[in-house]
């Protein structure tokens, strides 16, 4: 069996007296596309920073067999990373950026980068500071995809981009970059947009892993029931993990429930990741909302 690309055991991170990560355990095998999903402040970026060697944590982290914090520079020869903010040096022209990366990254291919820019409005002589946000994202994506890396880490790569850019971004990522030798870890709030491409999903809730499973297993394990009337009362007895009402119907999510029993009570489907996210990641906020009539109906 191939060695895992990422392995974390008891990963903890504190900022002052506040613990952000509470001992995460997870393993990312090669050739998979992992979605790291959670609320703002859940610990996604801190987890990625630990994996990329950008911050020191308690516990054990191994990426491509290396301690990332001790070997960041060496690790980055095989890892490409794109953050949630535009981080390319703005004082350079596009061609100067490619010159620079060609000099400092042995796995970067200028030809590939130029090819990935085909079909965009990014000109080689353009100064990066004059490019629009979408064009900078396209340029950065071209840069990371032109790096022959074993692990690609994308932290909210489409944040703030319009739907056209986002669709094109993920299409190019899948069609032009992903192979069975490469592993992708991606974080985003826009779960619906990446659901189709994920092979595995990790939900992080307040610094703890709420779910870590292949998407196929998620589809088998969780069931969504749409029902109404007396059947809703009968279904509530089967202990759904989440209940809400939509347009007069009751929607319930079950973990590991008997599908045949559920089908007798209404329409059963596999929940989307965003439905599952809402169900599993529901939490108490500091400024709590007053109880809604259509939520937590079963409670």
């Amino acid at each position: 069996m191939n060695a895992p690309i990422i392995q974390a055991r008891g990963l903890r991170k504190r900022f002052g007296k506040t613990e952000i990560l509470h001992g995460l355990d997870f393993t990312v095998p090669a050739g998979r596309i992992y979605g790291l999903i959670g609320h703002n402040g859940a610990g996604k970026t801190t987890t990625l920073n630990a994996v990329l060697g950008l911050t020191q944590c308690e516990g054990e982290v191994s990426v491509l067999g290396m301690d990332p914090f001790a070997n960041r520079a060496r690790l980055m020869q095989q890892v490409a990373f794109m953050s949630d903010v535009a981080s390319l040096p703005r004082y350079l022209r596009v061609s100067e950026l490619f010159d620079l990366i060609e000099g400092i990254h042995p796995a970067f291919s200028r030809e590939k980068a130029n090819a990935f820019l085909q079909g965009t409005d990014v000109r080689p002589r353009a100064k990066i500071r004059t490019l629009s946000k979408g064009m900078v994202a396209q340029l950065h994506l071209a840069v990371v995809m032109a790096i022959d890396a074993r692990l690609l880490v994308l932290d909210e790569p489409t944040l703030g981009l319009d739907i056209t850019y986002r669709k094109r971004f993920y299409r190019r990522l899948l069609e032009d970059y992903m192979t069975e030798d490469r592993t992708l870890v991606i974080t985003t709030h826009q779960v619906d947009e990446i659901e189709f491409m994920l092979t595995d999903v990790i939900f992080i809730k307040e610094g703890r892993i709420a779910l870590d499973a292949p998407t196929e297993e998620v589809a088998e394990r969780y069931a969504q029931l749409v029902t109404s009337g007396d059947n809703a009362s009968k279904a509530a007895a089967l202990k759904p993990i989440y209940t809400e009402t939509r347009f007069g119907q009751t929607v319930m999510l079950f973990d590991g429930a008997d599908r045949e029993a559920l089908e007798a009570l209404g329409e059963v489907t596999s929940p989307s990741l965003s439905d599952l996210f809402v169900a599993l990641m529901d939490r108490t906020t500091y400024n709590a909302e007053p109880a809604s009539s259509n939520e937590r109906a079963a409670q």
């Binding site: 020869q77 953050s83 535009a86 981080s87 390319l88 990366i101 000099g103």
Partner: protein
């Protein structure tokens, strides 16, 4: 070497305005002033006949090198007041951290760029200024019929002599001021743009404390004297300055020899060691604590 050259090149690209464009503007102004003086000036130099052209040329080029070196050190001070924290601007740090280059290498090359990139550029500007100065001497000669400028061959030899000795002078000057430059660079790693005031306030406070401690005590202020020695420019150059002013210096090499003999080599080595330590500590700070 490929990555080192690429990183040095990016320092040039990021700071070309300060070291390429600004000197070009200065030289342009110099030419405008010189041409204006020749066209409209009427101050005919008086004296006991035309001066010794070679001596005037020699002294002129030495002053030229000294001025460009001084400007260079001041420009480097402002460069280092920003360079070690510049990668944090516009979230650039995330890009640099995604590249397979260590923080020590990146900061080490920023430290080396003073001698590897910026001073060589300023040296070229100094050499160009030397040519402008010579053309100015010829112009003065034509205007006032005082043809004191040396012939082109002699001028070329003096220019080369001044250039070679100027390289040594520039290198030694940067090495002498390396701890001062490293001090402001180290502060910028932690405090960003506050590094400039802090670079003066912290030693000023220490000197003040020393002065207060020494009130009513019969002792020399060690820290104040040390800092004054570092900032003073190093060496026993009084006799060299006297020779330059009196015009008795017959060779730039002799001037350089006087300069080098009076040089505080132990102080220079100690200063460079301090600078190396600061760069290492700054790189560890950046590696451990700076993400964005």
């Amino acid at each position: 070497m490929k990555s080192e050259i690429a990183l040095l090149k990016r320092e040039f690209l990021e700071h070309r305005a300060m070291f390429l464009y600004a000197p070009a503007i200065l030289i342009g102004l110099l030419i405008v002033i010189m041409v204006g003086g020749l066209l409209f000036g009427d101050a005919n130099p008086e004296g006991d006949g035309p001066p010794n052209g070679e001596t005037v040329m020699r002294v002129g080029l030495m002053i030229n090198i000294a001025v460009w070196t001084g400007l260079g050190v001041v420009a480097l001070f402002f460069y280092y007041a920003d360079a070690f924290s510049a990668d944090r601007r516009h979230n650039n740090m995330l890009f640099w951290k995604s590249m397979p280059q260590s923080d020590l290498k990146i900061l080490g090359l920023k430290a080396a760029s003073s001698l590897a990139v910026f001073m060589p550029i300023l040296f070229v500007w100094a050499a160009i200024t030397g040519i402008v100065i010579y053309l100015g001497f010829i112009g003065v000669g034509f205007k006032f019929d005082h043809h004191f400028a040396p012939n082109p061959l002699s001028a070329l030899l003096i220019w080369i002599e001044a250039g070679l000795s100027g390289i040594i002078f520039m290198v030694l000057s940067v090495l002498w001021y390396a701890p001062v430059l490293a001090w402001v660079a180290g502060l910028s790693t932690v405090f960003g743009r506050w590094s400039i005031p802090l670079a003066f306030i912290i030693p000023g406070f220490v000197v003040l404390m020393e002065r207060l401690y020494l009130i009513n005590r019969d002792a020399e202020p060690v820290i104040a004297n040390f800092l004054a020695h570092r900032l003073d420019g190093e060496t026993g150059t009084e006799s060299l300055e006297a020779d330059i002013v009196s015009g008795s210096l017959d060779s730039i090499w002799n001037g350089l020899a006087i300069y080098v003999q009076g040089y505080d080599w132990i102080g220079m080595v100690g200063g460079v060691a301090f600078a190396v330590a600061v760069v290492y500590l700054a790189s560890e700070y950046r590696r451990r604590l700076v993400i964005i």
